[in-house]
């Protein structure tokens, strides 16, 4: 289980997150939605500590770290241990361009887990198969389409069997067709009970994948609930006007 308690994040005077508390249930998909600048990416990055919260508690599995402006930050080892329980998928893929698809997936197994090359390659190939890219194992990332790169990135994030997969705008850099192949992979993972936290401004993606949706604005949670309910019967008027764009996507007269 993943638990965030009273997370504050300030960049200088700018308050990005204010008192955000959130529980991500095991085996479920939680989507963070909200307008640009609402803090959803920052919140996601606070979970694996790519951003250090100004205050609050982050708990993933048995690792639990508390941050406070008055006390020294947790040790590097503690941060590392917590990070190892998470995998992350980035908006711009961020594959290592100087390594092949297979080597990208192997990297953590070789360097962090100290597996042998053969073992790591076998596991990496299995994961590439899972995302439908075993035939591209020896390709350089630069020769792959965006959708293929993102699928390799997902395989890389899963290599060390994290208990939580973080996805930061996983489809935003892709055209709709390429996005759909990434969504298919994420849906497979969800069906296999992978715990996921997805930050996205693609409401269709959130509606398709997520069990629970969290609507953030100005660094605060506005509404948090079952995804069907939040999209169809939002309680908060602000949520209602935001999610309305999902239905209003089609031109007048196209809707029944």
């Amino acid at each position: 289980m993943i638990q965030l308690n009273h997370i504050d994040k300030r960049f200088g005077q700018h308050q990005v997150l204010s008192d955000v508390s959130l529980t991500v249930p095991q085996g479920r998909v939680t989507a963070l939605i909200g307008p640009s600048g609402s803090g959803k990416s920052t919140l996601l990055r606070c979970v694996n500590l790519l951003e250090t919260p100004t205050a609050g508690t982050v708990a993933v599995g048995d690792a639990k770290l508390t941050f406070s402006p008055d006390s020294p930050p947790p040790s590097r080892q503690d941060i590392h241990a917590l990070r190892l329980q998470t995998g992350m998928v980035f908006q711009n893929f961020q594959l290592f361009p100087h390594r092949t698809a297979l080597e990208n997936v192997m990297e953590g197994l070789l360097v962090v887990r100290k597996w042998s090359r053969d073992q790591a390659a076998a596991r990496a190939l299995e994961l590439l198969q899972q995302v439908g890219l075993a035939h591209k194992a020896d390709a350089w990332p630069g020769t792959l389409s965006g959708g293929q790169q993102q699928r390799v990135a997902i395989a890389r994030a899963l290599a060390q069997s994290p208990s939580l997969l973080l996805c930061d705008e996983p489809t935003s850099a892709l055209d709709p067709e390429l996005a759909s192949e990434v969504v298919a992979v994420l849906r497979d993972l969800a069906a296999n009970r992978m715990t996921m936290l997805i930050a996205t401004h693609d409401l269709r993606l959130a509606a398709t994948l997520a069990d629970t949706v969290v609507f953030l604005e100005d660094g605060r949670i506005v509404e948090h609930g079952d995804s069907r309910e939040l999209f169809l019967q939002p309680r908060n008027p602000r949520t209602a006007s935001y999610v309305a764009t999902l239905q209003e996507g089609l031109p007048e007269g196209w809707r029944q």
């Binding site: 790519l50 998470t86 100087h98 360097v111 630069g142 290599a159």
Partner: protein
């Protein structure tokens, strides 16, 4: 055989000897020390605590702002006044290394900064430590960017080592001066010397291409237009 060719032929062995015994080792040693110093300087300036970064910035400012020849004179002829005495070769290696370090530190700093921040984050996200991310993710990509300008420094260095002649190091240029002063044929001797430097730097340029290919195997060359 015309006289000028005969003179060139006969002076080739002493010139090559001076090159292989002094110029080449002087260049290799200075570049190895200089590159190490440049790397440390770049790291200190990018990631070190403020005071350390400032110290290294002062060093770069000092070396880049003063002539190499003056630095060499200071080390070899000036420092003995303060009780620090160097033999000619170590004095030259010290001077050239400090120089290479200052210039290459800027190249390395720029190359490290050229790697997108997201690459650090991707490396951290799979659990790499700072040192592992640096070694396995950032440096290989930065090297691709750094090789051409570093090769520039290397080629400059091999030519700059001719300045060691003024520190009484018997490298190629000093050997040429010696022969020219007894044969009264400066045109022939210095032409020959220039040609030898040209051959040395051409070999280095070929090495640069090999290195670029090695670090850039993931980048395919743009296809030729038919």
């Amino acid at each position: 055989m015309p006289d000028w060719l005969k003179l060139m032929w006969e002076s080739l062995p002493p010139l090559l000897y001076a090159g292989l015994v002094f110029t080449v080792p002087l260049t290799l040693l200075s570049f190895a020390f200089g590159l190490t110093l440049g790397f440390v300087t770049a790291l200190a300036r990018l990631y070190g605590p403020r005071a350390l970064a400032d110290g290294f910035r002062f060093y770069v400012w000092l070396i880049r702002g003063t002539p190499l020849l003056v630095q060499l004179f200071l080390i070899f002829y000036g420092l003995p006044k303060a009780g620090i005495v160097f033999d000619p070769l170590p004095a030259a290696v010290l001077g050239f290394s400090l120089n290479v370090g200052a210039y290459t530190s800027e190249v390395i700093r720029a190359a490290l900064l050229a790697v997108p921040r997201g690459q650090w984050e991707a490396a951290y996200s799979i659990g790499l430590t700072w040192a592992q991310a640096m070694r396995r993710t950032i440096l290989p990509q930065a090297s691709r960017v750094a090789v051409p300008p570093l090769a520039n420094s290397f080629i400059s260095l091999i030519k700059d080592t001719s300045l060691a002649a003024v520190l009484t190091v018997p490298e190629i240029f000093q050997a040429a001066q010696r022969i020219a002063s007894v044969t009264y044929e400066p045109l022939i001797l210095y032409t020959e010397t220039a040609l030898i430097y040209l051959v040395f730097s051409s070999v280095l340029s070929a090495g640069q291409q090999k290195l670029e290919q090695r670090f850039g195997q993931h980048l395919s060359e743009p296809k030729e237009q038919p």
